[in-house]
């Protein structure tokens, strides 16, 4: 079980990475942590001609707070987010979901943005992104654009990312005050792919009435599924 031959490039800027992807349109694949892509290569389920590794681009591995949001760069490891203490206060749902993302040994290498761009229907982070209205910053040959989580996931392993675009950053807004949340999944073993899972929030207004309720299911469809908001009876 070894990958088919491919060429490899390690650009040192996002612009250069986009140029490489565009010059090898349809043949190239972005490599971040590789925790999803490398198994596919080893099993020869994917046979790209060129891997464009983002790891040598300086300054992409940040996790920081910006105006109350948790902002995560393309090369930030899942483990770095796990260790970013403010996340537990700003977006506790996001923080709590991470322990379900494979195993610590994968999270040391795997990136948050890589998992989102890979868009496995059984993955946790896409569901959390949808629940929390995350925003994706995408860079490509025509510059930068922002995509809302509800518009990002298209179908199995497919997002709105064009083959010469890169997910440069994801922004998880802080959970509103008076928001309760829960995250759970069913897997054969803790850390395995979930057979199904749920990510949910309920936000109350100052009077205690429900202002917003969200349920996002994953592992049960081609993308995370957000059933229509429960209506008031």
């Amino acid at each position: 079980m070894k990958p088919a031959p491919f060429d490899y490039a390690a650009p040192t800027s996002l612009d250069e990475a986009v140029e490489l992807l565009a010059a090898n349109e349809g043949e190239s694949k972005v490599l971040a942590g590789g925790q999803s892509l490398m198994p596919l290569l080893n099993m020869r389920l994917a046979r790209p001609g060129l891997l464009v590794d983002l790891a040598r681009i300086p300054g992409l591995d940040y996790v920081r707070e910006e105006n109350g949001a948790v902002v995560i760069g393309a090369m930030a490891r899942q483990r770095a987010l796990e260790r970013f203490a403010p996340a537990a206060t700003l977006a506790p749902l996001l923080a709590a979901s991470l322990e379900h993302v494979a195993h610590p040994q994968n999270r040391n290498q795997g990136t948050v943005c890589g998992s989102l761009a890979h868009a496995d229907p059984a993955a946790e982070l896409p569901a959390v992104a949808l629940t929390l209205d995350a925003t994706f910053r995408v860079v490509g040959p025509n510059g930068s654009r922002e995509v809302a989580a509800k518009d990002f996931f298209v179908t199995y392993l497919t997002t709105v990312l064009e083959s010469s675009e890169i997910l440069a950053e994801v922004r998880f807004p802080a959970q509103a005050p008076r928001t309760g949340w829960a995250f759970d999944e069913v897997a054969r073993r803790h850390g395995d792919f979930a057979m199904c899972g749920v990510s949910t929030t309920v936000t109350l207004d100052a009077s205690g009435a429900c202002r917003d309720a969200r349920v996002v299911l994953f592992g049960v469809g081609a993308t995370p599924i957000a059933p229509r908001a429960p209506s008031r009876r």
Binding site: D7, A10, M38, P39, A102, Q105, G191
Partner: protein, 172 residues
């Protein structure tokens, strides 16, 4: 024809240079090019943990990491845990607590545990389980590995502690 790449990396304190195909995985570099066969190849898709090594002290799967990605990295394999001929306290603990049977998975476990105990010298049961969950063992049933981690934590906290502090009988 795809050009090979020249890389250099440090493994167990020794600097190596190699010229590799981009598709060569780190574990195949370690085993087949550098002769460090202590790191084992199991599932080859990042699930079983047999190939776990440390990069800058962090446990990662070397079967789903390319050698070119490890260019410039500082790697520890099982061969680097202790000077030759001696067992690291974690290895001693695995031996005393019967934390292995066939031994195929053991190098991966040892390195996962090394990271755990570096981060959490006195780990909770949950922290131990979270770490061990990343490595598969088909012999032991994990209980003795769990006991070995607790034993290793005690040994590392107090190097002078007796080798058999946890009541495993020594025969002979």
């Amino acid at each position: 024809m795809i050009a090979k790449r020249s890389i250099s990396l440090t493994v167990n304190g020794v600097r190596y240079e190699a010229t590799v195909e981009p598709r060569l995985t780190l574990v195949d570099l370690l085993r087949n090019e550098l002769g460090l066969t202590g790191t084992h190849v199991g599932c080859e898709h990042g699930v079983c943990g047999a190939c776990t090594v440390l990069i800058s002290g962090k446990a990662v799967r070397s079967c789903i990491l390319l050698a070119v990605q490890a260019d410039g990295a500082d790697i520890t394999t099982v061969e680097g845990l202790s000077p030759s001929g001696q067992l690291h306290p974690i290895q001693q603990a695995f031996q005393e607590q019967h934390g292995l049977q066939c031994g195929f998975c053991t190098p991966g476990f040892l390195l996962s545990v090394k990271e755990l105990l570096a981060d959490h010298p006195d780990p909770t049961d949950e922290q131990i389980k979270e770490t061990l969950g990343g490595n598969i063992c088909r012999c032991t049933g994990y209980q003795s590995i769990f006991a070995a981690v607790k034993c290793a934590a005690r040994k590392l906290a107090d190097p002078a502690a007796g080798a058999l502090a946890t009541g495993v009988a020594q025969v002979g």
